[in-house]
Structure formats: structure tokens, C-alpha cells
């Protein structure tokens, strides 16, 4: 079966696209699937750093597109997981170095060999966004429970609908359950009510994400952390499993209510 191209995007910067891409890639590879991730953020590459593969880059996506190397040569194999590869972005170029049809061609070449092709998207709604949307079979929109992030996610979902690439699925990242309880943060329900798309995962706010990102050791390598577990659950949902949403707080009935909304929608 040919692989599925999943694009992770958000509109707003800094909501956790790259972290999500890295951790989903790791989670899917841990589950035994063949995974390649592509850094679509040409000129501002990060995915290599988060995956801890920065010092092994020889060729990049632009080299492939411009024919300076074969696709194979640009693929960096992960040290920890045999079935995880990265195609890094070029750091010295910009988004215009690649076109949407280049991305479609690269993905079509990867499809027969991989189960999953994950594309990390740049912030914004310009050329870089169109590049990563073009080849996608499924689009995951990452947002934070903040008004500005949700507003941008809404815009992005509208653009995805206009490109007839929908329906996108939602990842709510960095939810702080204590702040929600105090009424200081948007709840998952608030966000879902506005965006009205299917939720595929909630990642709790977790300091270990920052630590692991800095070390180039994605948190999903270790399912003892809450965030790591949450990423692994999203990977399982991508693979078609039904996984209940993580109960982040035993005393709170919030997730019960949320999962009720969710299962009602299915």
C-alpha cells in the first residue's frame, strides 16, 4: 500500500509544528512503520535539530529538487530508529526554491517505499504553505489554547477547505490543565466549538518537551512523560486505532465531557 502524506501545519508560528512532526515521526517509527519526514521550512530549518540529526546533513530538499543529488542521498537515517528518515530543508535558500509540484513529485517518489511521509510546514500562509499542502493526503492543524493561535488555525482551516484538502484534523498542543481549571485558559471545548473539525489529540503542557527538544531527543521516545504518551496516542489514532483521550487529571471531568463530544461526533 502506498504511503500516506501527512502535513503538519498551523498558520501561527511557535505553536509546536516541528515538535509535533518530530514526535509523530518517532512514534510511528516506534510502532514499526517506515517513516520519512520532510522539513518544508526552507530557510528556517529546525526539524533536524529537534530530531538530533543536524550534524549529519550533506544534501537537502533543494539539492534534490534542483537535481544535485538523488533523493536517497538526501535522506538521513535516524541513529535510534532504523525506519525513520529525514529529508532536511536547505538553510541558505528560501521558500521559492521549491514549488508545489516539486513537493508532489518528491512525495510520489517516496510513497511506494514508506508508510508515512510527514511534512513539517513553515508558519504563514504564503508560498511555503502552498508547497506543503499540495502533496498532502491528510492535514493536521496544530494549535494552542490561545485566542491568537486559534484565530490563525481557523484561517488555515479555511484555506485548506478552499484547496479542497480537508477535512483537516486538530491537535491541541500545550494545554495546561491547571490553568483551564482556574478559568485562565481556553478549554478544549472552546477551541473545538469554534474550529469545528475533528480532534485527533491533546498534548498537555510538559516541561520535558523543551528539554528533549534542546537535546534532540524527541519526547515520544519515552512514553513515561505525559506529552510523549500523548504523541504516541496520536500516532495510534493515525493508524486507525481508537484510543481514548488521555485523562490528564483524575479529578476533572473535563476530558470525559470532551471525549463525549468527540465520540458523539464519530
Amino acid at each position: 500500500m502506498p504511503g500516506t502524506v501527512v502535513t503538519i501545519t498551523s498558520g501561527k508560528g511557535g505553536v509546536g509544528k516541528t515538535t509535533t512532526t518530530a514526535n509523530l515521526a518517532v512514534s510511528l517509527a516506534l510502532a514499526g512503520d517506515k517513516v520519512v519526514c520532510i522539513d518544508g521550512d526552507i530557510g528556517l530549518r529546525n526539524l533536524d535539530v529537534v530530531l538530533g540529526l543536524e550534524n549529519r546533513i550533506v544534501y537537502d530538499l533543494v539539492d534534490v529538487v534542483e537535481g544535485r543529488c538523488r533523493l536517497r542521498q538526501a535522506m538521513i537515517r535516524d541513529k535510534r530508529l532504523n525506519e525513520l528518515y529525514l529529508i532536511p530543508a536547505a538553510q541558505t535558500r528560501d521558500k521559492s526554491a521549491v514549488s508545489p509540484s516539486d513537493m508532489v513529485r518528491v512525495c510520489d517518489e517516496l510513497r511506494p517505499e514508506f508508510d508515512w511521509i510527514l511534512i513539517d510546514s513553515p508558519a504563514g500562509i504564503e508560498r511555503g504553505f502552498r508547497n506543503v499542502i499540495a502533496p498532502a493526503d491528510l492535514i493536521l492543524v496544530v494549535t494552542n489554547p490561545e485566542v491568537s493561535a486559534v484565530r490563525d488555525a481557523d484561517r488555515i482551516i479555511g484555506l485548506i477547505e478552499a484547496e479542497e484538502k480537508g477535512p483537516a484534523k486538530l491537535i491541541l498542543n500545550r494545554l495546561n490543565i491547571n490553568m483551564v481549571k482556574r478559568g485562565d485558559m481556553l478549554t478544549g471545548e472552546d477551541v473545538l466549538e469554534l474550529l469545528a473539525i475533528e480532534l485527533i489529540g491533546i498534548i498537555p503542557e510538559d516541561e520535558s518537551v523543551v528539554v528533549s527538544t534542546n537535546r534532540g531527543q524527541p519526547v515520544a521516545l519515552d512514553d513515561k512523560t505525559k506529552a510523549g504518551k500523548a504523541f504516541q496516542n496520536i500516532a495510534r489514532r493515525l493508524k486507525g486505532e481508537k484510543v481514548p483521550f488521555l485523562n490528564l487529571d483524575e479529578k476533572s471531568d473535563f476530558f470525559h465531557r470532551l471525549s463525549k463530544i468527540f465520540s458523539g461526533g464519530e
Binding site: D152, D154, L194
Partner: protein
């Protein structure tokens, strides 16, 4: 001569000349084209020509002959545009372009300008998300939500069968416009020249109609008169 004008149309485009061939027998059309060129040979001298042939099926012999005849007259045939797959393939085989590279316009949010005869409203059956803008000289009816960051500009009234959280300017062109929604918490609300000084409060938010009374926007429970 009438017929000629219809069968072969020539216009200037950025990339040179665009020749549109109408219906009819290929041989006669072909001859008409050559005749026209002959009549205006100075005009065509050194021209770059794109050919629009519609659904017509053309094979290599025909296109090749045409290209050569044109070349004899110092005219370059560089593109053949056709809806026929066969013709496109033929053109590609001959090394001709099959598209004129008009720069694709940026995906813009098109304001829906619908001033239909006898109809004065535009109906949108979708959620208007952030960044979406609709403007109409008539009324606007939305079946769906209007999210924050979306905007509606209407000559007349606005009816939202859903939650209205975006911005609305109604009554640009007519007096007595109203704004109705199942739930209303707009980021901006204007009717005519008057801007709402406040949002509807908790009690007023559901099935509400905003209208102008005494140069002020007031919120009333939405009911049919």
C-alpha cells in the same frame, strides 16, 4: 469576409499573437489563416503565434504542416492550446507549448458580487472562517457560523443562522437594515453609519436582531413581525 472574421480571430497578448480558430473544415480554416497572414504580411512578420483550436483534433501531419507554412512566412508557432488530449499530445510531440503561462493570480478571497436581477441576497451555506470576506450590495444570508476574523459587508441586512462572532457592516446602501443571528457576539457591528457601542449582553445574545432605533443600535429578541 464575414465568415472569415468569425473563423479566425487574432488578438495580441503579452507573449505575441493569439489566434483562435473557429468551427469548420480544417483545410479551409487553414487556408483562411494563411490568407489573412498574406493580406497583412507586414503585421505578421517575425510574429510569435499561439494557436487556440478548441476541441479540434489535430494530428502531427496537420500541425507540422501548419508550423512549416508559418515558418515559411517568418512566423513562429510556439504554442497550441486545445481541450483535446490528442491535439495537446501532438503539440507536445512537436515541442510546442500547450499552455500560455499567464501568471496564476494569487488565491484571493473573492468578494461575492451578486446583484442578480430580482434577487438581492447572497446565500452562503458554510462557516465563514477567519480571513474570509463577503461583500454584497444586497442582503447576506449565512447558514453556518461567522468566526472571529471573518467579515461581512452588505448593502442590506445580514442574517446568520449560526453564531456571529466576526465583523459585520450592514445597511451600506439601504435604510432600515437589520442584523440577525442565532447567537451574537460580533467583533464589530455597524448598521449604516452607526456603530454598536456595545455587544449584546448574556441575556440578549441568543436569537437576536440588531437594528437602529433613535440613531443607536439596539438588540431585540428576533421575532417575526
Amino acid at each position: 469576409m464575414e465568415k472569415t472574421a468569425q473563423a479566425v480571430q487574432i488578438k495580441g497578448i503579452r507573449e505575441g499573437l493569439l489566434v483562435t480558430l473557429g468551427e469548420g473544415d480544417w483545410q479551409s480554416i487553414f487556408q483562411q489563416l494563411l490568407d489573412q497572414i498574406e493580406q497583412n504580411s507586414a503585421f505578421f512578420q517575425g510574429a510569435r503565434l499561439a494557436l487556440e483550436v478548441g476541441n479540434r483534433v489535430l494530428h502531427a501531419a496537420e500541425l507540422g504542416t501548419l508550423r512549416d507554412r508559418l515558418a515559411d512566412r517568418n512566423i513562429t508557432l510556439w504554442a497550441v492550446l486545445s481541450q483535446s488530449l490528442v491535439t495537446e499530445q501532438t503539440a507536445q510531440m512537436l515541442g510546442l507549448a500547450t499552455r500560455i503561462s499567464t501568471p496564476r493570480p494569487e488565491r484571493t478571497i473573492k468578494p461575492l458580487d451578486t446583484s442578480l436581477e430580482g434577487e438581492n441576497a447572497v446565500l452562503l451555506q458554510r462557516t465563514l472562517r477567519s480571513g474570509f470576506s463577503v461583500s454584497s450590495r444586497g442582503h447576506v444570508v449565512v447558514i453556518g457560523d461567522v468566526n472571529p476574523g471573518a467579515e461581512i459587508v452588505a448593502g442590506g441586512s445580514v442574517v446568520v443562522w449560526g453564531k456571529l462572532k466576526g465583523s459585520v457592516r450592514a445597511g451600506i446602501e439601504e435604510e432600515g437594515a437589520v442584523v440577525c443571528a442565532l447567537f451574537m457576539e460580533p467583533s464589530l457591528l455597524r448598521i449604516g453609519e452607526i456603530e454598536a457601542s456595545r455587544s449584546p449582553d448574556k441575556k440578549e445574545q441568543n436569537t437576536v436582531m440588531a437594528l437602529v432605533k433613535d440613531s443607536q443600535i439596539v438588540f431585540e429578541t428576533w421575532k417575526i413581525k
